[in-house]
Symmetry: C2
Subunit: 205 residues, 2 copies
DNA sequence: AATATAAATGAACACTGTTCAATAAATCAA
DNA sequence: TTGATTTATTGAACAGTGTTCATTTATATT
């Protein structure tokens, strides 16, 4: 009947407004300083209501990290037009790094923070669908590279993980403030230069 | 005079005991669940005393992260006996990754957690000596590689950062539970296999 | 209008990091 | 040895945290 339809719609709207408030607070203050009470204040409800929509704080940030994967996947869609797999791999790296540098807090949540993974292991179905989907795009591209004669002698799974590790390393060391070690005049461009060095290496393989 | 000597010694002993207690708690419960009161309980002092030896919680964990760099630097000392710079670079990578996998919590504190860097930027002298020293070892080895004809066309700073990024990526994705995406039968060995793929690439350069 | 169901509340619990006036202990001077 | 001074240590207080759940309020059904 119509009433329970509306009720479910209203429930979902409230859930969405919790997430919207959480996202806003998260982006301006970080995960630790975003409290349940802050979120409740923002949507003008009492703190308790949040626990009728989410098991705990981690579940909220797991939901937000899903948001991040949606936008990342959208940005990856242009790759369909890149025929050559090596070129596609490089474009993938560029998009990945641009996403990370333009959305450092969201990247941090998706690939560094413990909260979304902690939620996964607390819940029953503990496979990381979001990351798995993204990684599969990389894996397929690498496999295509290998089948076209690139990267001879390499195993696709290990190489995919290494490629991911390289680009993740470039951005995550930057996001977590470990670029202090880089010469001052190069510090602002080191991620991009690291990526270019990586491309140079890919070309030689 | 002798009394103030003893006093200073006692003060340092108390500081050390705070750090020892913090380290123990940190290794078994993590940074968030290690509270000032827990540490105080462990050394049988009141919580307030900790703030006479450390500005805040971040300073304690900055001191612990220094500990970690000491042990890492010790492990790196065997590299002095490796003459060929490319071989030395590979050995460096192996030691780095072994350290990370054998001491994941300490590695996390040194290269992923925000606490030690936050302390740095709160204090006046904001250069990361510990990381800088370690990175310089890598930089020197890469420079030697280049001067011996390896890695032609590469800039030493960018390449050093890329190499660091690659090995950091390998271990940090694992430590922060992002290896879920790897095929189950390869999941336990993926870091090592990623490193071997990396070595294979270095050889082709 | 009375009853049953669902939604929302806010007080309570056991914590957290941090500060600081008050206390206790140790040292110095007479 | 006693009194004054300095140093070390305390623990209560503040303003917060995530989470739970009996109670209340609002909505829907009979």
């Amino acid at each position: 009947m119509g009433i329970s339809d509306r009720k479910e719609r209203e429930k979902e709207e409230l859930r969405d407004s919790i997430l919207a408030a959480a996202k806003e607070l998260f982006l301006e203050k970080g995960i630790d300083k975003t409290s349940i009470r802050n979120i409740a204040d923002k949507i003008e409800y009492s703190p308790g209501i949040i626990y009728h929509h989410f098991r705990d704080k981690n579940e909220i940030f797991h939901a937000l990290h899903q948001d991040g994967f949606m936008t990342l996947q959208n940005k990856m869609e242009v790759l369909n037009s890149v025929r050559n797999p090596l070129e596609r791999l490089k474009a993938m790296g560029s998009i990945y790094i641009r996403f990370a540098m333009e959305n450092p807090d969201m990247y941090d949540l998706m690939f560094i923070k413990e909260a979304p993974m902690d939620h996964l292991f607390d819940s029953e179905h503990d496979d990381w669908k979001e990351g798995g989907g993204s990684f599969n795009g990389l894996r397929m591209t690498i496999k295509e590279c290998i089948s076209q004669g690139y990267f001879e002698g390499h195993d696709s799974e290990s190489l995919s993980y290494l490629v991911w590790s390289a680009v993740h390393g470039l951005v995550s060391l930057n996001i977590r403030k470990r670029c202090e070690v880089i010469e001052l005049e190069k510090r602002n461009t080191i991620v991009q230069e690291g990526l270019e060095a990586f491309f140079k290496i890919l070309d030689k393989l």
